[in-house]
């Protein structure tokens, strides 16, 4: 491979993976050196983190497809080393989330009011954000590690898909807690005892997310506070 082609290939790779935080080549102070020509006929392509690499056959005229393949291989490797990055997709693949309310019917602006003007973009924003939050709760709900359990117990062991959490029955007087409690108090009791992890503060992001997930999974059930 000539120096010029190698440079192009590397540049392609770096640009395609801009998402992983590498600076685009145009912002670098000097172009990267071309890879050493190799008697074995293989070229090593390195990601801009100087860490992740793949080895490919040296090609005389690499195409865009070749470049994309290399990019995908590098990305797959990088994702394996950074497993949390696609957490939303992973979580959706693993567990069901009841979808949030469908606000699509609200799009429009009949009364000319700014607040009352709703676009598709708004609807998308609302739905994606609230579901992301509920998904974060699902992630904690299903993970003994995230809950801080010292006995490797997670909520889903007794509450698969959030079953039997009945958030619509709170607030209620819980004799064994000695007072009227909200959902989060019961969550905290469960974290402390069946899960044997540290109690969460009322405004801890994990507690908020757990509540969000539990409410999400119980969508449609009428409120019935105090029900046993």
């Amino acid at each position: 491979m000539t120096g010029r082609h190698a440079r192009t290939a590397l540049a392609t790779v770096v640009l395609a993976l801009g998402a992983v935080g590498c600076k685009p080549a145009s912002q670098e102070t000097a172009p990267p050196p071309p890879p050493a020509a190799d008697a074995s006929g293989k070229t090593e392509v390195v990601l801009c983190d100087n860490h992740t690499k793949v080895t490919v056959d040296t090609k005389a005229n690499p195409t865009r497809d070749d470049g994309e393949q290399i990019a995908q291989q590098l990305m797959a490797q990088w994702k394996q080393k950074n497993p949390g990055v696609d957490w939303e997709a992973d979580e959706r693949r693993a567990h069901d989330l009841v979808p949030a309310a469908d606000n699509a019917g609200l799009v429009g602006n009949p009364q000319g009011q700014t607040y009352g003007a709703i676009t598709d973009r708004d609807v998308l924003l609302w739905k994606s954000q609230v579901e992301t939050f509920a998904l974060a709760g699902s992630r904690v709900f299903h993970s003994a590690d995230e809950l801080g359990s010292t006995i490797a117990v997670s909520c889903d062991m007794c509450h698969p898909d959030g079953a039997n959490t009945h958030p619509e029955t709170y607030p209620k007087f819980q004799v064994q807690l000695g007072r009227t409690v909200l959902l989060r108090d019961m969550i905290n009791w469960c974290i402390e005892h069946p899960v044997r992890g540290p109690r969460l503060a009322d405004d801890d992001p994990k507690m908020r997310a757990l509540e969000a997930y539990i409410y999400a999974q119980r969508k449609g059930v009428p409120l019935d506070y105090g029900r046993r």
Partner: protein
């Protein structure tokens, strides 16, 4: 148990000195007139119609049966009966003998002593705050104080009267009683009304003014830092609140349910005991027979099972209140625990594993400091009117606990050994497909 027998033996055998003779005659209780004086000094301010401070009015009202509303006449009559030893077969035992004003309204003995020095099998619960429990006796066999009052009087090892009629005869022979019954109930004395009157008097014995209550009412200095940490543990890691909830609607700390926490499993074989119980009850299943079996035989250890005959209730006893514990030692249904540290050690190790152990009983992994903190909190649940008595009692408990902690087992408490691990039988068959 041996300790109690020894005590009883001493009380009866050594009657050469007047003091000892006196004690034999009163079974260790303070003289009745002195008890009444102490009672008056306590200054119970409950009037007949108002709920006392410290309990939600609706709950207090609901604890009073419709046919026995509280009136000053009934309270006075009940008081007279409570302290009257003539209601026993040999004239030495009154309610106040085992529910002694000077001994925490109990007798501070492992098990109680009745006529002729006979011993029962169960620790006397305190009369204090008893009205707020939804059943009486360790096995809940009496639904209310009225029912409870009538049973020890006719029990052969307690007050030993042959039946209710004999008791009424004694009462009718006293013209003052006849007049008081007329004023209180508008009719001649009957055994049922005797129970009602005693119950009415007992309903005035509500003592819910402890440092804890003052803290909850807003006095942040009422509980020491140690007691507050104990309270956090009580509601958290130590899990006490699960069966002993403390709140305005239930201020005494009993869930009024029956749990097997393993105390009775220490010395018994439940299987054969249950079989024996079924046979005895088949012959005679009356309340009196139940009462007798509970107090006189090994089957007492089966607890609530004797009443309901449900497997789930084998070895289960009622959750007692956590109020005024400093003056109502020893603890548990058989009085087998002398100090609050013993109680904490018992729970910390996960009770005593047995086939019927309540599932909420688990090793708690409490450290020594944490145990001390919970004990300090429990001390803060004693009414301020008993503060001095309580301090004396706790000093003695502290001394005892410093050298003797018979129930302490750190391996079990810290979950290094599991409760059922020690129980698994050794011999087994080879595991094969």
């Amino acid at each position: 148990m041996a300790f109690a027998l020894l005590l009883a033996g001493l009380a009866i055998a050594a009657s050469s000195t007047p003091a000892r003779a006196q004690e034999a005659a009163t079974h260790g209780a303070l003289a009745m007139d002195q008890q009444i004086a102490r009672l008056e000094a306590l200054g119970i301010t409950t009037t007949a119609t108002d709920p006392p401070a410290g309990v939600v009015g609706a709950i207090w009202q609901a604890s009073i049966p419709a046919d026995n509303a509280m009136t000053p006449e009934r309270i006075a009559l009940g008081r007279k009966l409570y302290f009257d030893a003539r209601l026993s077969a040999d004239g030495t035992v009154a309610c106040a003998t085992c529910h002694d004003v000077s001994r925490g309204f109990t007798d501070q003995r492992p098990v109680s002593e009745g006529i002729a020095g006979k011993l029962g099998r169960r620790n006397a619960p305190t009369t204090l705050n008893a009205m707020l429990l939804t059943s009486q006796f360790w096995d809940g066999r009496a639904a209310d104080l009225e029912a409870q009052a009538k049973l020890p009087i006719v029990n052969p090892v307690e007050m030993g009267m042959p039946d209710g009629d004999a008791v009424v005869k004694v009462v009718v022979a006293d013209p003052e009683y006849v007049a008081m019954f007329q004023q209180a109930y508008g009719r001649a004395p009957s055994y049922d009304d005797i129970g009602r009157a005693i119950a009415t008097f007992e309903r005035t014995l509500v003592f819910l003014d402890a440092p804890f209550d003052r803290f909850m009412a807003g006095d942040v200095n009422a509980l020491s830092g140690e007691a507050q940490r104990g309270m956090a543990l009580y509601n958290g890691k130590a899990r006490c609140v699960t069966c002993h909830p403390l709140n305005a609607a239930n201020p005494i700390g009993s869930d009024n349910r029956f749990h097997n926490i393993g105390v009775s499993a220490r010395h018994q074989d439940f299987g054969s005991l249950a079989k024996q119980a079924l046979t005895a009850l088949a012959a005679d299943s009356s309340e009196e027979q139940l009462d007798r079996l509970a107090l006189e035989t090994d089957m007492s250890e089966l607890g609530r099972f004797m009443v309901t005959k449900r497997r789930d209730d084998i070895g289960s006893f009622k959750t007692p209140q956590v109020r005024n514990l400093t003056i109502s030692a020893p603890y548990m249904h058989d009085g087998s625990m002398q100090t609050l540290w013993d109680v904490m050690d018992h729970y910390n190790r996960g009770g005593e594993a047995n086939l019927f152990l309540d599932g909420g009983i688990e090793p708690l992994a409490l450290t020594d400091t944490e145990i001390d903190e919970v004990v300090t909190f429990m001390v803060a649940l004693t009414d301020v009117r008993f503060a001095k008595e309580g301090e004396t009692a706790m000093a003695a408990q502290r001394t005892l606990a410093a050298t003797k902690r018979p129930f302490k087992d750190e391996a079990l408490a810290m979950r290094r050994v599991l409760p059922f691990e020690s129980k698994s039988a050794a011999a087994g068959q080879e595991v094969r497909p």
